[in-house]
Symmetry: D2
Subunit: 345 residues, 4 copies
């Protein structure tokens, strides 16, 4: 059994990791650390976990103690704090899967500009692998540090990567209009996320300024100049899931069969599924699963393709992909412990 | 035009009062006071109000200033604070409609035991009228201070009062199993009320300890000894509305026609509607209206009546009834400014 | 009092019309016709209306009977059927406000292509006025037949019209990415709209094929050649409201002050509100009100403007605008009977 | 691998069974039969299942064909039809787990009175075991036919059984006030269950007439005379889960420790969890898990106990318990394939 620890276990990604690890045949949870909840029972915060973990408590995020009983640590702290403690685990030989943005960028300047912090471990950033499993699987196998991708970015990059790379769409003029469930905002006391303020509501936010835009732009740039996308996130009155509607200009003469050919990259993938022309995934197809599904429609009149891509933001968009990365790093079957079928209901 | 002021205008009952007053042909809003929001625009908190009130701001809760331009003040502060400031307005000749529990109890000891505070104005409490409009209309006409009833209590007392009073049900063994929308908890930052923690959830709370029980017990006692009810509130994943399912033992031989006869008390009422045997109101019949509707089913096998009663907790259960009280006090048509038709959708 | 009748009163737009008319100081409901519900009580279908209309029943859609007691008829039937019966009312001198698409298009061919029907009254179509109140007010005053605009179209045209007309944005390359509440699908038995299939879900539909696209294109064409927009509707898990996120290419050198100047067209409007740069309306600002509110963000990096526009699909997007048209046609105050403040909660 | 077939696979219990079987280490799905959907792909109805089952189709409910490849069949058809086809499988030596009410009652007369049908296989009913796992485990091990308990009944019986049996509560005067998610109504086209009619709503239904009452009464009768309960179901605006609030009169002198002692019956159970005094489960503790959790509060003033019990209606209340029964019948680990941790979010 691979011994897994979580630092920052009290948040929603921590909840999902604890749940996934409990059901995983090859992983066992050795520590669930949370500074703010240290000493209290996991079941006080998440009674549902109590039926599995009984009286287990959150611990202090003490690196020495945790590292002794861990082969891998999932770090889920705020930006900069996450890389700092993650780096200490790395220094002790523990593999690190970081769910913050700290190890996602190749260009540290872009990261620092985007997140307005100084990167605490530029040395480690060089070694870190961007954990988009279907694209970087070979590198992930050998990685010691993973920058686990963002939720909007996973949902956007998976469908766009093969199309831009193969040239069937243009990399100029891309618009990503996306909508996320409220778990994307994390577990925090804020009137704006109260049921009474959110139910029945829908809104755009972070228009032209959301930080996931630069991560998308870096990962989708194959030429010399970084591409520029318009990224508009919205907040849905649902708990989970992201649906991205992507508008791109097709290359001259590009057909559905060209698109499908580009998507054959994913033909053996369980968690990146191209559904084909005219089959547009809905949120409920993927919520509570680790699948990212995407389909498209050609808009010949306007020379565009319209792609609809769906994921569960807490699974393929966060903790599920983190476990998938862990499976790859430790040579476990890649789907172990990961739900293929969502809840639909 | 009657000049109305609100103290504690930033909460949800304040929002509803501002909305009702705007649409009321006989009332005009002269001040909306809120210590925590003084100086900021009403539309910053509630953009929907901005389309009506433009750049109007919240003011400090300064009694002297507010009283100069007010015939009536709606006080909606926490318990004890509300009676204290309400008392000052009374001292200046402004009529007071208090939405806290401060002026609801005849028995000050019961109030103090229930709310764990010392009543700041016992003198005034003697004069205050319990503002359950359909029951106390004549007293309300002449009142200077109104204790506006609680939400659960209005929903429970209206259907039970005529039945207990007329003796068709027993006053022993009553169970009130009720469910409320989340606006009942007010506008506050608390993870427990976050969309992600509330949507899809349902729970009991305050079992055997909820404070509305003593208010119900006092108002439904017609004999020497205060009656005792089991009151179990639940939290619904909806914004608004209360549905109470009430179990009572019928008097020996009591029939549906006895029940209906007792309910003829309300035959001319617009906002207390007995729907008859077998017609059980649903939440959507009344949400966003000022109507309290109740129907019943006789459970002959078990010697019980099962009553289902529904209201909008923020309207007939709070601000709507407050405006209804205001209409009665100032001799305005009782339905003025109050919605008869809810939203259904 | 203006005597109003409704044909097709059983649907959701019918419900809203009955509700608005009840609260309107200048209108009285003389008939609510519905073939499928004729003879049954309005309150059987909509108990909330029963508190206002008592035992009033739906009638057969008999033109002769209804016309005798009506100054205006609101027709809300399926396409083609609506114009046919509307035409008969017109022939009897009753003013017609039609909520279907039948009288919305100037170009009958475009209408017939879009809706795949033959227009039953091309003669009348010539006389009909497109009832977008803020744009066509003067024509509406004199109209006998109104084609009441669609919901997505009202939400899209109001913010785009002044910008295209004044040339601050280009009319080529416009993308409208919109999301609607489920009442937009009407009142029908269909598993796809069941709570269990819709709650927590979000999906795109009608991509590249939705019929409102041609209505938008016709109304926003000022040159010789009809413009072309990409229109992508989505289904939100909410009951009401539409939020449209619109992407357009700005004219070279266009600034926020140019945009604001174009929007000064609406400076005296109560129901078309430009909120300015960086102030992006949310659904809850307008739901249950007749207001269409829109703000924008300039995306200088990509040479675009991103507009967010919100309405209540059943009010400003249907029945509210219909009553607004009625007010204009009969010289009543334009805001009479129409909610300025939405429910927020 | 145990070969499992489903008859009536298109409904929501069928969906859950297909999902559970896919993730079960000891079961494999050999047929998913549905008369109405025969020949169409499972993924057409439930795209989420497509990521697991690919192009597998629903088959006709042909007993001969299905029986050849099945060790066990889950029958989920309407009452009477279910026992009829289930009986044919039994005749061919296939074990039957029936999710309808057909094999739940010992007293066939009570069944026939309750469901208004003639039992098609009274012979088999004698042999059938009531599949409430924690109570009847030993009988289930040897059973060939299981009557899988109802959802409300499982949620009600598990907490009441030990208390009545041990005499710490009285069996007279029990009230069960329960609320269910809308999946309880199944997958059907009915305006009443549309999102727009259900969201934000809450209502009682089947008051004094719901069929689960007689099932509860039979299973909780230990004396000569069948007990009588008041059972009031409500419909919650959530997809899944049942919360039952139960009122019972305590035996004279009964204390919390007496209650806890009675509940020690479940001390080793994973799926029936007594949470103790004052710890009242919420829906989100159990939704998407197979756990039934129940806690209680003593109401000394009124001589009552108030129990709150929660389950997922589709899992422990239907398909989860069916799989648990299957595990017991075939000697598989009882928790195999069954979720202990719900989704919370």
């Amino acid at each position: 059994m691979i011994r897994a620890a979580i630092v920052g276990a009290n948040g929603y990604t921590g909840f999902e990791l604890m749940k996934l690890i409990y059901g995983h045949p090859g992983l066992t949870l050795t520590s669930a650390a949370s500074r703010s909840n240290a000493g209290s029972k996991i079941s006080d915060l998440y009674p549902a976990l109590g039926f599995a973990y009984g009286n287990m408590t959150f611990t202090e995020p003490d690196v020495d103690t945790i590292a002794k009983n861990a082969d891998v640590v999932f770090t889920a702290l705020p930006h900069a704090a996450s890389a700092e403690i993650g780096g200490k685990f790395y220094d002790k030989g523990v593999k690190v899967i970081d769910l913050s943005a700290d190890f996602r960028y190749t260009d540290i300047g872009l990261y620092e500009n985007t997140y307005k912090v100084t990167h605490p471990r530029p040395d480690l950033n060089k070694e870190a692998v961007y954990g988009l499993c279907e694209i970087n699987r070979d590198k992930i196998k050998k990685a010691a540090v993973i920058g686990n991708p963002g939720c909007y970015t996973t949902c956007s990059i998976l469908p766009l990567y093969p199309l831009i790379k193969s040239g069937v769409i243009q990399d100029k003029g891309i618009i990503i209009d996306a909508a996320s469930g409220i778990t994307g905002a994390g577990r925090k006391a804020d009137v704006a996320y109260n049921f009474c303020e959110s139910d029945g509501n829908y809104k755009a936010y972070g228009v032209t300024t959301h930080r996931h835009a630069t991560e998308i732009e870096e990962k989708l740039t194959f030429g010399d100049e970084r591409i520029s996308v318009s990224f508009t996130p919205h907040l849905l009155p649902v708990k989970r899931g992201i649906l991205a509607t992507v508008y791109a200009n097709t290359a001259s003469g590009a057909t559905a069969s060209d698109i499908d050919k580009a998507y054959s990259l994913y033909k053996d993938e369980k968690f990146a599924v191209a559904t084909g022309e005219g089959v547009l995934p809905e949120l409920k197809w993927v919520v509570q699963s680790n699948v990212c599904a995407f389909g498209y429609k050609l808009d010949a009149k306007n020379g565009r393709i319209i792609i609809v891509s769906a994921i569960d933001n807490l699974l393929k968009g966060a903790s599920g992909q983190a476990v998938q990365n862990c499976n790859i790093m430790f040579g476990l079957p890649e789907t172990d412990g990961l739900p293929v079928i969502g809840t639909h209901l």
